[in-house]
Symmetry: none
């Protein structure tokens, strides 16, 4: 039997709610999408509870679920994923956080002096200046209470904080309050921390680092110069998304598929690397609404020769939503649809592969946030039973034949349509009870 | 971003099956419900597996699930809930049962003499007489095998039995056979009791109390007088619904919502108190089909000023079903619909809140029992994607856009539509990873 290859296209945050400025339609309803509608017509549709009904996923946990991993078990925290995405090596067992170089001012409160966040990105400080400030911090702060501290610059205001040694735990709150004019949050163990003592220890070290970063950075020459130039001082680092780095079973072992990823941004490249995908980029891709989607789809067609599974990530739909620009989102969707003709012509029409299009989460382009509404999903396979749905949008797919399925089940469904799913109970190989494997261990007589 | 408040209206046992005397329609289909239909038209609908497909919920476990608690983990047994509903304080770790004062007669069987239940409510004995009998029992029975016994009167034939001290377990059968002309059931540990030894111990004590209650009550003056007056003797107490009282995380901590409950009957008030809701009543409410639904909805509108979450319980639909009166149920549904105009005008039209209408379980008005069919659900939010469903009834919502969701997920879905759901992976506060919190613990430098 001929097995099929799989193409998974994730249009980040594409699904939405109704938007009043779009005649009470969603951006996907409002946009003209003849190619995606064609796929809906010949395929089967539904909605995807990425994590669980009502829960707004983060992009990292969402992609883990879409790749068939259980985030409750396998999510290593955003810091670890970002580090992987930036190609920063972090040892297993180390704790990694993302951080921003931010701008804070002092404020007197009854307990003493606290710090109020005025700019979470320190005026989007250049990578050059940020690099120097972080290098200085690293020089001054190399260990705390026997824990080795690594402070690593990423692009612009972004960086990775790594703690190594001793028992560490990622179940601590973020220092970053995620909102301006809020105070810097005291890092604390979560009430349901998995290892409470280790979480307490971790929180203490993070608080010391945050406080020291302020003491060290506020007097730095670069910040003096920034203030003179009328720019916000990058006078603190604010960690968030702590997690202990761990390893998961690689995608090829879990699903028996050789996987490739086409994505521009670090986070998505990080999740893909975390599960062991080969990560590709196309020079024309930008990770914004100006990206060249056609180039990505062409690359996917090319990679399908070598790989069994090609994942394509497109970010612009989410960025437009966070910027609360529904019309920009509509345009981005139409651009994706137009480019999607390549996939229709080269993959769908020849009928050799399974093609799925969905979002990693819904993003409201009115509210500017991730929402827990299940995104629209369409799956095409040559022998799939098409439902009655003739358009690809959130409202039309509510009547879809796939119904309401869970994100973590998507891979199993795709594997099935790819004729690769193994019958439950069979045990031809010691590695997997999920996918058909032709491997065998020869019995020697 | 503006968050929304939430109104949850539970019409007890409203969903049903087809009824032959109603032209093979369900009572909700048969009833004229222009206001609820309007909500279905502008909202999104589906069905709710309150506990699990096919399982008929009890009203107490059903409400726990609707409030987002897992009954498998958090259900403390009916006795504990009823005690809370009657404002009877029971210490954590104690075992509580409901009991009825009942009427039994002796019967010889091969093993000896047993007791046959003739009236489970002892002719609905007055609270005054019941109180005296229970006071007498309490005086005579204050402890068994080192376990302190509390026998507390409630309204009419109802009471609460509390055991305190030693290791107790609620996994025991009911003494009450739940049917007349059946014998009093010997309380026994369930075969899958969580702590078998404690369950055995508990069952033994309950059997001793039941036997002693018969010995003590059958000779009591009040019963002699009742028999003389031609009334059934209240000559035994029959415990049921044993459970060890425990504490759960309060609703406000779980969901970040300040909650209020409007309910008349003890059970619902008990579940609401158990999860830490403020419980309100309206004088015009009766807990029967004669209740004043309008008064409840007006109270809800008023409470929405102070509370984030208002739960309204309406009982009449269930009572009419248990009484096997489909037409009375239809009338009750029409009364609810007519009163619902208040919610439409004051809550839905201003577009400031999320409104959900459902049942805690389906009740068959032909069979007179709770059934495991998933009740109809409708949710309205200002930016929700409306499905094609234009009527609110069990048949119409089968095509609803929410599909088939689980009771325990409802709160997460409502939180999401209220723009209060937190993105998975963010950790701004130590208390919750579920709802957005503006609380912060200021870092003091």
């Amino acid at each position: 039997m001929e097995v099929r290859k799989i193409v998974l296209i994730v249009c980040d945050g594409m699904s939405d709610r109704v938007v009043s400025s779009l005649e009470e339609k969603t951006p996907l309803e409002y946009a003209k999408t003849p190619n995606l509608d064609k796929l809906a017509m010949i395929g089967c549709t539904g909605v995807l509870d990425i994590l669980s009904p009502g829960i707004p996923p983060g992009s990292d946990s969402a992609h883990l679920a879409l790749f068939g991993y259980n985030p409750e078990k396998d999510y290593p925290g955003r810091g670890a994923i970002e580090a992987l995405g930036a190609n920063i090596h972090v040892n297993e067992g180390s704790l990694a956080c993302r951080f921003n170089l931010s701008t804070v001012v002092e404020k007197n409160i009854s307990e003493g002096v606290t710090l109020i966040v005025k700019d979470r990105r320190a005026g989007r400080i250049s990578s050059e200046e940020a690099g120097k400030l972080i290098e200085y911090l690293q020089m001054k702060l190399d260990s705390f209470s026997g824990v080795k501290v690594k402070i690593i610059p990423n692009v612009e205001h972004r960086g990775i904080l790594v703690l190594e040694g001793g028992e560490l735990n990622g179940d601590v709150t973020d220092s970053d309050p995620h909102e301006v004019d809020s105070c810097v949050n005291k890092c604390e163990p979560l009430t349901n921390a998995s290892i409470p003592k280790a979480a307490e220890h971790t929180a203490k070290i993070i608080n010391e680092i945050v406080k020291s970063s302020y003491t060290l950075l506020k007097e730095h020459e670069i910040n003096k110069s920034r203030v003179e130039r009328g720019l916000p001082a990058a006078n603190i680092i604010l960690p968030r998304g702590a997690g202990v780095v761990k390893k998961v079973e690689p995608f090829i072992k879990v699903w028996g598929l050789k996987p490739a990823c086409i994505a521009k941004l670090a986070l998505y490249r990080g999740v893909a690397r975390y599960v062991g995908m080969d990560v590709y980029d196309v020079p024309e891709a930008t990770g914004t609404v100006n990206t060249n989607v056609e180039a990505k789809f062409k690359k996917a067609v090319e990679l399908l020769k070598e790989y069994d599974f090609v994942f394509i990530h497109i970010k612009g739909t989410d960025s437009a939503s966070h910027d609360r620009k529904p019309l920009e989102k509509v345009n981005m969707i139409e651009k994706i649809d137009s480019a999607f003709k390549i996939i229709m012509d080269k993959v769908v029409t020849p009928g050799k592969a399974v093609v799925a299009v969905t979002s990693d989460h819904s993003t409201s382009s009115e509210l500017g946030i991730h929402i827990g509404d299940p995104p629209a999903l369409v799956i095409y396979a040559p022998d799939i039973i098409a439902d009655d749905v003739k358009q690809f949008n959130e409202r039309a797919v509510l009547k879809g034949g796939l119904g309401r399925v869970k994100g973590v089940d998507l891979m199993k469904i795709l594997l099935n349509y790819a004729c690769r799913a193994m019958e439950y109970g069979l045990k031809p190989s010691r590695e997997s009870r999920v996918y058909r494997s032709t491997e065998c261990s020869p019995l020697v007589i």
